[in-house]
């Protein structure tokens, strides 16, 4: 049976590229090295919700049609639109996004990617403060202090810790895996050790038991690689941390600013910040300034709560300030496997990472104004193209409502909620499984995606579908000009 090595996992922003797939009769039958999410995707992508035929809405019903007809209809909708939105892009290749941008420019639309509802706000703060960062290997080799803030990689980026941070082995820093096992031993009985080890080896997060007691045995000052978790709740990642700081919901900004003051050796005129006694914070601040190389990862728990984008402003400023004392970097935990790529391509072609409005014939950018969610909330758009995304199920209700009212084109392998509302639905191949391309890891390292099996008959990759729509639009426009 053929085994394909070094396959990149098209699931999360960790973009592990060491997956081995066994193929039998044109189907993936075995996945090696991947986490549970990875296995689920490679083994289960070809499930029953797959759309196999282009569809078009006629008299309120989605009916099957030819690809040619679907593309023609899609092109008509976009060519006629006065303010179309083109949204998605984080679960497809950079190559597809690139065509998407050309399409948006051609039809004078607004192109936006899913970062608008995840780390887009983080980008706004990067634009104010900057960002001291690095590639993930740098952390593996050098970091002796890892902080996860508002992020639970154990569940959302299962191999992040093992490949890049605490449990990875680098040139100057050893894995903290052993220490973690010892700690568990001290805390719980034999049975739990086994389940913990199972977790590490089998990576089945669902089997985790949940009652580890909180520990404040100040392991914070010990030598070697340390892990700090800061979150509103005790997540699974928090359980393995050397130090866990439970922050009052929506008070991250205050906590971050307190840290900023503390590392400048300022006295705080309060006893507690965000529900945490200042002495604890002083310990954590000490650990931060005394490490050799610190890394702060933040997730949506930080970006989407309380002060929102300004949480990130404070986090970036904190890490920047820490560089006066030691080496420290910060990185957003990007979710979708190629959301970073969508931002990257958009930036080099238009100057802006997301929420790009071409309606005036050149790129304009102002999230809040040109971001798709806001455009929909103000009911401004009059047509929509959705690629590899399901906004109807995760946008605010009012925005989703307006989206469904627009003539709606959906390109997706799945019959998701948005697809069900489509006026034109064009099924596509799974990028990274049935179609090749490039994706960018959360640290901006580009990694190729492989085509390991063929898509179902007649099904094209996003890139190709978009190219055909673009060509069709140009044809329509030529005709109009001639007329």
């Amino acid at each position: 049976m053929p085994v394909v090595k070094a396959v990149t996992c098209p699931v999360c922003g960790s973009l592990c590229d060491d997956i081995e797939l066994t193929i039998e009769n044109g189907r993936i039958v075995k996945v090696k090295n991947g986490c549970a999410m990875c296995e689920a995707k490679f083994l289960g992508y070809c499930c029953e919700h797959r759309v196999l035929k282009p569809m078009i809405r006629k008299d309120g019903e989605l009916v099957k049609t030819s690809l040619k007809e679907a593309i023609r209809r899609a092109a008509e909708i976009l060519a006629e639109a006065n303010y179309p939105v083109l949204y998605g892009w984080s679960n497809t290749s950079c190559e597809a996004t690139s065509v998407g941008i050309e399409l948006a420019e051609e039809v004078g639309g607004v192109i936006d990617n899913t970062s608008v509802v995840c780390h887009g706000p983080s980008i706004l703060s990067i634009q104010d403060v900057g960002i001291p960062s690095c590639t993930l290997g740098q952390i593996r080799h050098r970091a002796d202090l890892i902080v996860y803030w508002g992020s639970n990689p154990w569940s959302a980026h299962p191999r992040h810790i093992e490949r890049y941070t605490s449990f990875s082995e680098g040139r100057f820093e050893k894995s903290a895996w052993r220490g973690y096992v010892t700690k568990i031993k001290a805390l719980v009985g034999r049975k739990k050790i086994q389940s913990a080890i199972k977790r590490l080896v089998l990576k089945k997060p669902s089997q985790i038991s949940t009652h580890l007691e909180p520990t404040f045995v100040s392991p914070i000052m010990r030598k070697g690689r340390k892990l700090i978790v800061i979150d509103v709740r005790r997540t699974k990642t928090a359980e393995m941390a050397d130090f866990f700081v439970q922050v009052e919901p929506n008070k991250d900004y205050e906590l971050l600013q307190a840290f900023r003051a503390l590392i400048r050796d300022q006295e705080l005129a309060v006893d507690k910040v965000a529900g945490v006694p200042v002495e604890y914070l002083e310990d954590v601040a000490d650990a931060m300034v005394s490490c050799d190389f610190g890394a702060l990862f933040f997730g949506l728990g930080l970006t989407m709560s309380g002060a929102k984008l300004r949480n990130i402003d404070a986090a970036l400023s904190l890490v920047r300030d820490l560089n006066m004392r030691t080496k420290f970097i910060i990185m957003p935990m990007r979710g979708h496997f190629n959301v970073t790529g969508a931002n990257t391509v958009s930036t080099w072609q238009t100057g802006y990472p997301y929420a790009v409005d071409f309606s005036l014939g050149y790129p304009r950018y102002n999230p809040g104004e040109t971001s798709v969610v806001d455009v929909l909330l103000r009911k401004e758009s009059d047509a929509a193209l959705i690629v590899a995304s399901d906004p109807v199920s995760n946008f605010p209700h009012k925005a989703a409502e307006h989206l469904a009212e627009n003539p709606l084109i959906v390109i997706d392998p799945h019959m998701n909620v948005t697809a069900q509302m489509a006026d034109v639905l064009i099924p596509s191949a799974f990028v990274g499984i049935e179609a090749a391309g490039t994706a960018y890891r959360m640290d901006h390292v580009p990694i190729p995606l492989k085509k390991v099996v063929n898509p179902p008959r007649g099904i094209l990759p996003d890139e190709e579908i978009l190219r055909r729509i673009l060509a069709e639009i140009r044809k329509i426009k030529k005709k109009q000009e001639a007329a």
């Binding site: 005036l360 999230p367 009059d382």
Partner: protein, 275 residues
Amino acid sequence: MMVNLYPLKELKLPIVAECINPDIFQGKKPAEIEKLEVWEGNKQKKLGELFKAEIAETEDASENTVVVIHGDISRVKRIGAGMKNGEIIIKGDAGMHLGEEMKGGKIAVYGNVLGWAGSMMKGGTIEIHGNAGDYLGAPYRGSTEGMKGGKIIVHGNVGREAGAHMHKGIVKIYGCAGQFAGFRMHGGTIYVQKDCEARTGACMVEGTIVVSGRIESVMPSFTIEGVKKKVKIEEGEVVETPFYLFLGDLTENGRGKLYVAKDKNPHLSHYEKYL
């Protein structure tokens, strides 16, 4: 000269119309005004396709061009952007970027205004009788060039980050303010007559923020400096009630002043022990 503009239809698409500016209208006939270019969605249009322009000669022969817009123009962006002279009166709601980079003259809105009103303003006055959106007077993304002068008065409430990166000038809010009022402020004055959400003055370096109502909380990176009997907002406007004076933001080694009315904020009384 007075120019009246009447929308010809309900405006649904976003419209960019920086030509609605007294400096540009000045001396033009209605037909010329209607020929000015605007964008409606992704189509370039003439102003006359969206608005009807009428000129009413005013009795007073002053040179001031007054533009009066009748109706809801909340979809129309960049009205009065960069204007230097004259006056715009909007009898209805107005769209984003109203009076952006304005240098002089006056804009009055008898309705609500969306985000970025008075963004990067350098001079002149904007008076909003309804509510204002987010980023009132704040700079464009990535820029630190906030308000450098002029005056913004809002009689209703405002959204987030009013007066962010402000260097000079004054913002008076007679309603409530959203979070981060005066964010990264470097100078100037912000007055909030009613309540303030959290993180007021975060990362401010200099300047003055006065809150007469209740403030949700004061950042831990501010220190209390004392209690003042009254605070002067501007020439002729003094608020006579005791205020706590906080200094901050420590994280930026800031010396900004945050005045918070004592009576409305008993939850801050614990700070008094440091005095």
